[in-house]
Symmetry: C2
Subunit: 96 residues, 2 copies
């Protein structure tokens, strides 16, 4: 499954900064950060369900927002980028 | 075309806040804001190209990042949301 995770965590309340760090950490376990709160993940169905569980442990349902988009192709194929782009295309040949 | 626009605008430098407002305004002209810097857009090819042009007028290529993801289904079908969700599903029947 090719998944794009985007999130907004409310950092105005106490605990927000901590939740933001932990949400980012969960996403890092499953994919690549491409923008502040956007991650590209290539995961199995089981990994996807575990990721969602992990994320739900960290967010405040009344204040934070998580969106998970199913892509039908790899993120590298689906995306067009402008300006700064710090992502890595894992489908590119690895030159040693 | 079903497009997901995500962006990071560097607001630490002067002019950043202004660029952020203008990027958001451009996206608002073409779609629906679903998170702070995430918009869902349903546009024609011509509108897509115009949106990209408009966005490139506003960003600083060396500091800001725009990512446009092609979705193969409507955003409402592609997305799973948790927590706060202020988006509107335009495919839902309009009840008057």
């Amino acid at each position: 499954m090719e998944i794009l995770v985007t999130y907004d965590v409310a950092t105005v309340d106490d605990g927000g900064a901590r939740r933001l760090r932990r949400v980012a950490q969960v996403c890092t376990n499953y994919g690549q950060r491409v923008q502040q709160s956007v991650f590209e993940c290539s995961v199995s169905k089981a990994q996807y369900e575990q990721m969602v569980d992990d994320l739900l442990q960290e967010i405040d349902n009344d204040k934070d927002s998580i969106r998970l988009y199913r892509l039908s192709m790899s993120a590298a194929e689906a995306v067009e980028t402008y300006g700064v782009d710090e992502s890595i295309d894992f489908n590119d040949p690895l030159i040693l």
